[in-house]
Amino acid sequence: MIEKEMIEEILHNLKEINAKLDKIIQNGNTASLNEKVHSSDSLDVMMLLSLPDHLRTTATTLFEIGPATAEDIAEVTRKERAVESNYLNQLVRMEHVEKYREGRKVYFHINSKLC
């Protein structure tokens, strides 16, 4: 009897967890949708000013030096290459920046489709 109650409680908890996960997934989708809508604007100087500090520094550097690898950006910003790579990929997801491969190197540049 106790076992049955425990199983029912576990099932109930699992259903609650499922419902919460559904909500999180749904919110996540909305967030990425917002990101897309947000990114449909051009990366102009006013958009630069509205970016969070870490992304603004990366984007401003990319504006200044032109097409560059994460390592090139890191040399200017004096952050770790991996950190800059992460920021650049965030900017790519926001569609402010595009990336392309040349040999073994990955280059980033301000999205020309928006300009």
């Binding site: 604007d41 051009s42 990366l43 102009d44 100087v45 006013m46 958009m47 630069l48 000013l49 500090d53 603004r56 520094t57 401003t60 504006f63 200044e64 301000i110 928006l114 300009c115």
Partner: protein
């Protein structure tokens, strides 16, 4: 080392163009190769200082920003025969109302490209030996002005003795200059002593106040005159040379 200075202010009528022109000439008198660009596209006034350069202008800063022309096509040498050890080239913006009206209709994509074109132009100037680039901007947060600020190494903030100017400058400092991580220096132009209490240890908004130029009617009366050329011992000329030296130490 080559560098780019944006001369900017929160409000109009602070004397940006006078300071930008005189500073450019002061650097040229020192033997530097200087380029002065009129980035005040909505109220251009650079040409009033260079009458000899106003005729025969083929291309404008407007053409550079639009990507129609490269920097070398829009700048023109000026100041020949003025006895300067260095050189000054100037690019004017077009004071034609239809051009200014058209500018107001430009979208964000155009402004984004304009920023790229300014930065590309700046690099090209430096490649061809220009040591000092001075961007004379329009006041406030117009796109062209903020693009110029973004493209500069240092912002020379020209501040006038009004409460309105102080309030607007504070907004710009926090919302633009610091956000873009710019080095800045402040010039109190048309300065009144009553404002001294705003300055703490020569600093304001966290930036050095490098000059306080008093309100001198002589400057207004002789508008269009380049004081560092015509009157080198004038108080204004001496202040400009002092600014030039102090900027070097900040850069």
């Amino acid at each position: 080392m080559a560098f780019t200075i944006a001369v900017h202010s929160a409000k109009g009528g602070t004397g940006k163009t006078s300071i930008a022109v005189n500073l450019a000439i002061a650097y040229a008198l020192d033997g530097r190769k200087v380029c002065l660009l009129d980035m005040d596209l909505r109220g251009p006034s650079l040409r009033t200082f260079f009458d000899n350069g106003s005729s025969g202008v083929s291309f404008w800063v407007n053409d550079l920003l639009s990507g129609r022309k490269g920097i070398n096509e829009v700048v023109m040498d000026t100041g020949a025969g003025l006895g300067m050890a260095g050189k000054v080239s100037v690019a004017y913006s077009k004071a034609d109302i239809s051009e200014i009206r058209e500018l107001a209709s430009k979208d964000r994509k155009w402004q984004s490209n304009a920023l790229k074109n300014i930065i590309a132009g700046k690099k090209e100037l430096i490649r061809s030996g220009t040591e000092v680039i001075i961007l004379d901007t329009g006041p406030g947060v117009e796109y062209e002005s903020i693009n110029a600020v973004a493209a500069s190494d240092l912002v020379l903030i020209v501040h006038s003795s009004t409460k309105a100017c102080s309030e607007c400058t504070e907004q710009l400092v926090n919302g633009v200059y610091k956000s873009l991580n710019k080095k800045c220096a402040i010039v109190d132009n048309m300065h009144h002593c009553s404002l001294d209490e705003d300055t703490l240890d020569g600093m304001r908004y966290g930036f050095p106040v490098i000059a306080a130029i008093p309100c001198i009617c002589d400057i207004a009366k002789r508008s269009g005159e380049i004081f560092v050329l015509s009157d080198r011992e004038h108080e204004f000329s001496r202040a400009i040379c002092d600014i030039k030296d102090k900027l070097e130490s900040i850069l």
